[in-house]
């Protein structure tokens, strides 16, 4: 089959797996959309060094299984390849993300200003703790549909994991350029990040369960909890 006249670039552009092509001086020659998002969380140098470290001993392509984690991106393998001295490519394989299979109960969802729930939960947190909190929020976030009681429980548990932490920073924002598909429709994502110098993880299972009930994706790390909430209107 002659494929020389076919332009493959758009297929690569829209591939969900990040793909980057570097030159020999670590300059980026090409990157697809997914790699562009990845660069929001990791430096160019780090990825170039990674490509060099896992490059095949001579011209060709080599796939290595490994576990990589950059913020909410998790990969289980990479393929590094080069066919000349000037260009080297790296492709990342997305690890499957846990997704709730619970069907959405729309009757529980009520149009809500998420900032209200967050502030009320901060007030609750302050009745029990004296830690200082730094809140960075987008007051212009539109109201969207939430299970108010369920989501409040999730917020309480999440904040509670930071009850003894110092320098707690809470960020609430709309994730630009990322979407989640719910019932076949593209929904924007609101991201709530809480980070501190450390946190309790003994209630992580409860947080997971509550997040799943609220159709919220979670990322539980040593010092950080991230909740990605679908903006359903």
């Amino acid at each position: 089959m002659n494929t020389e006249s076919i332009d493959f670039q758009s297929f690569l552009d829209w591939d969900n797996s990040p793909f980057i092509l570097f030159n020999e001086q670590s300059k980026i020659l090409y990157l697809n959309n997914s790699a562009e998002l990845l660069f929001g969380y990791v430096s160019k140098k780090e990825l170039y060094d990674l490509a060099l470290a896992y490059a095949p001993p001579s011209f060709g392509h080599k796939t290595t299984t490994l576990s990589l984690n950059y913020d909410s991106f998790t990969f289980y393998a990479i393929t590094v390849g080069y066919e000349n001295e000037e260009q080297i490519s790296i492709r990342f394989y997305n690890a499957p993300r846990a997704r709730s299979i619970t069907p959405m109960k729309k009757d529980k969802l009520v149009n809500t200003d998420i900032n209200l729930l967050l502030e009320a939960n901060i007030a609750l947190f302050k009745t029990k703790n004296t830690n200082t909190l730094q809140l960075l929020t987008d007051q212009d976030l539109p109201s969207f549909k939430l299970d108010q009681n369920g989501f409040s429980k999730l917020l309480r548990k999440t904040l509670d994991a930071f009850r003894s932490s110092d320098s707690i920073r809470i960020t609430l924002k709309l994730l630009v350029g990322e979407h989640v598909i719910i019932s076949g429709k593209k929904k924007a994502i609101v991201q709530l990040t809480i980070e501190a110098n450390g946190r309790y993880n003994n209630t992580d299972d409860e947080i997971k369960l509550l997040a799943e009930q609220c159709y919220t994706t979670f990322l539980l790390k040593e010092n950080t909890i991230k909740l990605e909430i679908p903006l359903i209107q």
């Binding site: 007030a123 009745t127 108010q148 369920g150 409040s152």
Partner: protein, 244 residues
């Protein structure tokens, strides 16, 4: 309209939390010792909401079907907590204690703990002044000379004992000679029976007389002169009534 006074930062944060979620359908619970203002706080924040006690389980179940805003007091008294559905309603519950932590955790989005009066000296002072004004009005005490600064502050059962001490103190200190005679009359009428009752009831008069006298005059010698009785007689009576 119900008023709620507090200088406690903790309670101000509770009020802030409630005010923020006033229009939302979330369930909240206020937990704290008896008689510290949980119900008053709920009433102050939600003056229009129907109120039901957890002692009346059937009524709670009925109202949960009918209304979407409800105050449930004495929540710890409900025996069917696990089976309640509080989602998509505005529920404000109050409880003296948490029965099952897991159940409360599952049912309520906001779990507030109200500090007791011992932890709120400023609030106690304010409440005490209110109770004194109220007690004076109720007992129709117009005597402005009557000192209230000696009223002890008893917080053993929070506002209940705080209030009760004020009333009993004011009654005791505003009694006239006639009131006292009438009180003794009623007491004796209820208790008089037996064969040594003269001596038995003399205590009612003699014990407070000697105790007050000793406090006022300090020495037995001086008191015997004031009372006009023999020093030995006084000593004998002190011993008889076991006065220290």
């Amino acid at each position: 309209m119900e008023q709620f006074f507090t200088t406690s930062e903790q309670i101000q944060n509770i009020i802030k939390g409630f005010n923020l979620t006033k229009t939302l359908f979330v369930s909240s619970i206020i937990i704290g010792k008896p008689n510290i203002g949980k119900k008053s706080l709920a009433r102050y924040l939600f003056p229009e909401a129907p109120l039901v006690s957890g002692k009346n389980q059937e009524e709670v179940e009925r109202l949960l079907q009918e209304v979407d805003e409800l105050i449930i007091t004495d929540f710890e008294k409900l025996s069917n907590q696990e089976s309640l559905d509080l989602d998509n309603k505005r529920i404000i519950a109050t409880a003296n204690y948490i029965g099952n932590q897991q159940t409360i955790d599952n049912l309520f989005a906001f779990i507030y703990t109200l500090p007791s009066l011992k932890e709120r000296p400023e609030d106690t002072k304010y409440l005490r002044d209110i109770f004194i004004r109220e007690a004076k009005a109720t007992l129709m005490i117009t005597d402005n000379e009557l000192s209230t600064k000696d009223i002890p502050v008893d917080l053993s059962d929070n506002s209940k004992t705080l209030k009760r001490t004020i009333y009993t103190h004011l009654i005791k200190h505003s009694m006239t000679r006639k009131d006292i005679q009438e009180a003794i009359y009623s007491y004796i009428l209820d208790h008089l029976n037996g064969n040594n009752e003269y001596k038995e009831h003399l205590t009612l008069y003699e014990k407070p007389l000697i105790e007050a006298g000793l406090k006022k005059y300090g020495s037995q010698l001086q008191l015997s002169q004031v009372l006009g009785i023999n020093r030995n007689t006084l000593r004998k009576k002190i011993h008889e009534h076991r006065i220290d």
